[in-house]
């Protein structure tokens, strides 16, 4: 749908949900759609990485334990790929051990959320993260533009 793909609309940011538990996907999908995001779904690690490279979502809700390629592996692969490096990643895990947390942070996740999570908190976290990301991008493009057109800049 063309309107949803329009880049000007900030709230229509693309969000990828990667989880192998169908019922969790149902809840996450409902949640993200309610907030107006465009939602993509991947059922395992490999599909998630493909979707990230192809669809370039702004943010990924990534389950840590998926069959085949784990969430940690996906996270590392994304950070190692220059094209998609800036993707925001929220790692979701049902394993609450400190070692698992450390591994998630080590893999380069922006946030680490333990299941079961509060839906409100998760939505808020996603929103904040995207806003921060938007600001950072704007700053990057803004300064680049300033370099080209110095006359337009106010003194």
């Amino acid at each position: 749908m063309i309107p949803e793909l329009a880049p000007a609309k900030a709230c229509a940011a693309k969000v990828l949900i990667a989880d192998d538990e169908p019922n969790i996907v149902v809840s996450l999908e409902f949640m993200m759609k309610r907030e107006g995001f465009e939602v993509l779904v991947a059922r395992d690690g490999r599909a998630a990485l493909e979707a990230i490279r192809r669809e370039r979502p702004r943010l990924v809700l990534l389950d840590a334990t998926m069959p085949g390629m784990s969430g940690f592996d996906v996270c590392e692969a994304v950070r190692a790929d220059a094209d998609v490096r800036s993707t925001c990643i929220v790692m979701l895990t049902a394993k609450g051990r400190e070692t698992d947390m450390a591994r998630g942070v080590g893999a380069g996740a922006d946030a680490y959320v333990t299941k079961p999570f509060s839906t409100r908190d998760l939505v808020q976290q996603v929103k904040d993260m995207l806003a921060k990301d938007t600001a950072a991008r704007a700053l990057a493009t803004g300064s680049a533009g300033a370099g080209e057109l110095p006359k337009d800049m106010p003194a």
Partner: protein, 966 residues
């Protein structure tokens, strides 16, 4: 018959060969690839016992007296029976205390007494010189015989052959000096010499056998022929009987006994035997083989003695030739000149072997026990101590001084030995010249045997009797020697006609009771038995009497302990070995000891001793100001190897301030040592048990850690499995809570999910608890006789509805009746239901089929549940029974907890059965389990006894065998 140059050439060639063999062995020894470290060489080298006396004399004796040559070889055979007990102890003592001669051995035992050493050496020299002369005589008369056409009496030029014998003596002196006294070896081993002697033993054996075969089978038609023809001659028939020497008819028991005893002793006590058997022994274990090879050698070399003697008498006549030369004259007279020459070389080898070894042994004794003590007493002792003192003041200077002086002293000792070698051989030559014609070969040999037999009480007594003293040894040796000289040596000299032999019959000064061969009227014995009887009686009486008269001194007592208990030490572990007693008290400076050792052993060897010591004691070289007793003992032992223990004792005493050792001190030191030993052993024991305990602990620890990790993993997995449904429940509930206006279908969907996930949670909790119970062994089992056929059929019926709802069909196949099992029916139902519902979950939506079968296989029942689903992927087959491993793809996978199969497997295991996944070629999965009628002992042990009353166990066994009739 053979020209002189040929004989001389053969002899020279043979000696050159001997040099080559010895040189080769020495070179190999230097390269560290010894060729004598071998039991065969050792056994052959012992055959140095067979001298020219054996080679020529046995035949002579057999020709004169029949089988009387035999005891000389029966004795050694008997002696070798005791080798492992007696000789091994001698070897162990000699090697432990670096004893290098029999004089040293005896002297060392009696407090390292120089006097005892000198006395033993003197007896040896007096007793052995005639024996050496005998060998030279054999060489020369053999030569004479070969070159003078068999005429024993008149050679072409007596002056020439006399010089020839001298030349042989000189050549052997050269050989012995080269291979026996080249360097001062503290172990006093001579590999080249041993190899040459072993080689000689082979040569003489082969040569003698060759002559024997030639005569027996060449000149006669075998032994039977010789026997038959000898019996026909009346004078010779007596030779075939076991009678007295004179052929008097009665068997000479006393003489047999004497000869056997004498040769038994001499095979252990002759200097050359001691040298070969004890000093040159490389490895105690070689003795085991030598104990039968050496007697076998003696047996073989004696096979042809009697045939040769009889054959010689038959062919050459009683007066035709000297029987002692039959070995040469028989081939010669029959034209076999080549064989005669070979036989001569054999005789030469028998003679030279004996000469070389005897000379080395005796020269070592003369040097260490006669010359060195004299030198030390005269000026050496002062010179030693003063030089040592000046040397030790300035460390660097002393090193150089010592190196120079040490070299001089080693050379001095070696030169003494060389001179002794030459002197002994020349003395033998002289004796041969003076008395050569006087005796038959055998008599000379026996006189020597009787002389060395005097060592027996002191030596063997010393090895086993702690109370024996120096006075006893001295008295016994001296008394025995005097009686020997008076009753055997003197009469034989008289019989040669040098002195008036009137006193033989009438006694000295007309006192008949003192007649040398009938002492105190003892008659009826031959002179040898008579002499041996009196000399050994006096010897033993004095030895025992004087030993008992006074208690041993401290030094005697300590040496007695070291000798008698030699096996009690050394072979224990290293720690305990360090607790061996050292019987020395006093003060010595390491520098003085170093200087002393350098002077006698050379600086390198000296440094090595000190390095060894510091390695063993853990003290760095040169850091300790006073030498401890162990170092002093070490140095003294090494010196003993070079100059004999008596001289070594004197030398060490000269550089150290010693405290005299009382018998009480000896006991004290011994007690300390044995206490130390006990402590050391206890310590070892303790450390061993500690090691074991620590190993057990660490194993237990590792096991605990593994268990802990497993538990951790389990908890982590359970947590994950619990959180996943909880996540969906919480998320969906929150979403519904936030949106009261949610559309009904949406709400319906969410609620359905919530209910499903709640059920999943409940199931999971139940199964986790179940699993935990099973794993901890606290599961409850209500065993009963189970008809598995009915049980499986009920399970199939129960799941049929579930299957139908999924469009699947279940079929059941079983025999009409199966034997009963003893098991918990509810648990087994759980297993079967789990397998069937798993199968139903995985079958395709259309045309799903599940086939359940039950069979009797061997002594058990097998249940199979087969489906037509996707099957288990290759990679998951190994892990399918692990906890939380669910089969299939997460997306398509039916709901499950991942605990069903592990629980089922545990239940089956509990009843002694087995569950497995059968190989299916791509057409679905087939799970199977087998339950035995009779669980084996191991499986029975798994069953918790508490849940099974003891009385029911009997019934269990009966139930297992009972067959249910249809």
């Amino acid at each position: 018959m053979i020209s002189a140059p040929v004989v001389v050439g053969a002899a020279v060639f043979y000696l050159a060969l001997l040099f080559a063999v010895a040189a080769f062995a020495d070179r190999r020894a230097r390269e560290g690839r010894s060729i004598i470290g071998n039991a065969w060489i050792y056994a052959l080298s012992l055959a140095v016992y067979c001298t020219a006396w054996t080679y020529f004399g046995s035949v002579g004796r057999a020709a004169a007296t029949g089988v009387w040559f035999l005891p000389i070889y029966l004795g050694p055979m008997l002696a070798m029976l005791l080798a492992w007990i007696v000789v091994r102890k001698m070897i162990r003592i000699a090697h432990t205390y670096r004893i290098t001669s029999i004089a040293d051995f005896i002297a060392s035992r009696y407090g390292k007494s120089p006097l005892v050493a000198a006395l033993v050496t003197l007896i040896t020299v007096v007793g052995i010189v005639p024996y050496i002369a005998l060998q030279l005589k054999a060489v020369s008369s053999g030569y004479l015989l070969l070159t003078a056409s068999g005429a024993a009496g008149g050679g072409p030029s007596p002056a020439w052959w006399q010089d020839g014998t001298l030349l042989v003596a000189l050549a052997l002196a050269l050989f012995t000096i080269l291979f026996g006294a080249r360097h001062l070896d503290s172990a006093e081993r001579h590999e080249g010499m041993v190899a040459a002697v072993a080689f000689e033993s082979l040569v003489k054996l082969v040569a003698f056998l060759a002559v024997g075969v030639f005569v027996t089978y060449g000149l006669f038609d075998g032994m039977a022929d010789i026997w038959a023809r000898a019996k026909a001659v009346p004078e010779m028939a007596s030779l075939l009987r076991l009678g007295g020497t004179g052929g008097a008819g009665a068997f000479g028991y006393a003489q047999w006994f004497t000869l056997t005893l004498l040769s038994m002793l001499s095979v252990l006590l002759l200097p050359r035997q001691f040298q070969m058997m004890v000093v040159e022994c490389v490895n105690e274990r070689h003795l085991k083989r030598a104990a039968w090879v050496f007697p076998a050698y003696l047996l073989v070399i004696n096979i042809f003695v009697l045939p040769l003697a009889l054959g010689g008498l038959l062919l050459l006549g009683p007066n035709g030739a000297d029987p002692e030369t039959f070995v040469l004259s028989l081939p010669l007279a029959n034209g076999a000149t080549g064989l005669a020459l070979f036989a001569y070389v054999g005789g030469l080898s028998a003679a030279t072997g004996m000469l070389i070894v005897e000379t080395i042994a005796v020269s070592t004794m003369v040097c260490n026990d006669l010359v060195m003590p004299a030198l030390l007493r005269r000026q050496g002792r002062k010179a030693f101590s003063s030089e040592v003192e000046t040397g030790s003041r300035e460390e660097n200077a002393s090193r150089q001084d010592n190196a120079r002086a040490g070299g001089d002293l080693t050379a001095l000792i070696l030169n003494i030995r060389r001179a002794a070698i030459l002197a002994i051989l020349l003395l033998g030559y002289l004796y041969f010249q003076v008395a050569g014609e006087a005796y038959a070969l055998v008599s000379i040999g026996l006189i020597s045997f009787a002389a060395v037999a005097q060592f027996a009480p002191a030596l063997f007594g010393g090895m086993y009797w702690r109370e024996a003293t120096r006075a006893g040894a001295l008295g016994g040796l001296l008394g025995g020697f005097v009686v020997w000289a008076y009753t055997l040596m003197l009469p034989s000299v008289a019989k040669s006609g040098w002195i008036d032999d009137g006193f033989l019959t009438h006694g000295p000064f007309g006192i008949t009771a003192l007649a040398p061969e009938r002492l105190f009227g003892l008659q009826g014995l031959d002179n040898l038995s008579h002499s041996l009887f009196w000399s050994l009686t006096v010897n033993v009486a004095l030895y025992v009497g004087l030993s008992l008269w006074r208690a041993p001194s401290g030094r005697e007592a300590s040496q007695a302990l070291l000798f008698v208990d030699v096996f009690a030490r050394g072979h224990a572990t290293a720690t305990a070995g360090a607790a061996d007693p050292v019987f020395w008290r006093g003060r010595a400076r390491p520098a003085d000891l170093m200087a002393l050792a350098s002077r006698l052993l050379g600086p390198d060897a000296a440094r090595q001793i000190f390095e060894e010591h510091s390695h063993e004691s853990g003290v760095a070289v040169g850091t300790d100001l006073t030498a401890d007793a162990r170092l002093v003992d070490k140095v003294e032992r090494r010196l003993a190897g070079a100059v004999g223990s008596a001289s070594a004792r004197v030398l060490v005493a000269a550089v150290a301030e010693e405290e005299p050792l009382s018998p009480a001190d000896v006991m004290e030191i011994l007690n300390e040592a044995s206490q130390l030993r006990v402590y050391a052993l206890a310590l070892e024991e303790k450390s061993r048990s500690l090691e074991i305990a620590s190993a057990e602990l660490s194993a237990a620890n590792a096991q605990l850690r593994t268990l802990d990790e497993l538990k951790d993993d389990f908890v982590s997995s359970v947590t994950h499995e619990l959180r996943t449904p909880l996540t969906a429940i919480r998320a969906l509930s929150e979403l519904m809570l936030d949106a009261p206006d949610m559309e009904a279908p949406q709400r319906q969907e969410f609620l359905t999910i919530i209910v499903g996930e709640s059920e999943r949670l409940g199931r999971l909790v139940n199964q986790v608890l179940d699993m935990a119970k099973l794993e901890s062994g606290h599961g409850e089992w209500h065993n009963a006789d189970v008809d598995l056929r009915r049980l499986v059929r009920d399970a199939v019926t129960a799941t049929t509805e579930l299957a139908r709802s999924r469009g699947a069909q279940i079929t059941f196949e079983a025999p009409d009746a199966v034997p009963l099992l003893r098991a918990d029916p509810d648990r087994l139902t759980q297993v079967v239901l789990n397998l069937i519902s798993n199968a139903v979950k995985f079958v395709p939506a259309e045309g799903g089929r599940v086939h359940v079968s039950l069979h009797v296989e061997g002594d058990g029942l097998v249940v199979r549940v087969k489906d037509n689903g996707p099957g288990v992927p290759e990679g998951e087959r190994d892990t399918i029974f692990e906890k939380f491993r669910q089969g299939g793809d997460a997306l398509t996978r039916p709901p499950g907890t991942g605990l069903g199969l592990p629980i089922s497997r545990r239940i089956v295991d509990h009843f002694g059965g087995r569950m497995w996944l059968e190989n299916q070629d791509g057409s679905g999965a087939c799970f199977a389990f087998r339950l035995p009628f009779q669980p084996d002992a191991g499986a029975e042990g798994l069953a918790p006894a508490a849940s099974e009353p003891a009385g029911k166990v009997e019934a269990l066994a009966g139930g297992n065998t009972r067959e249910e009739t249809p």
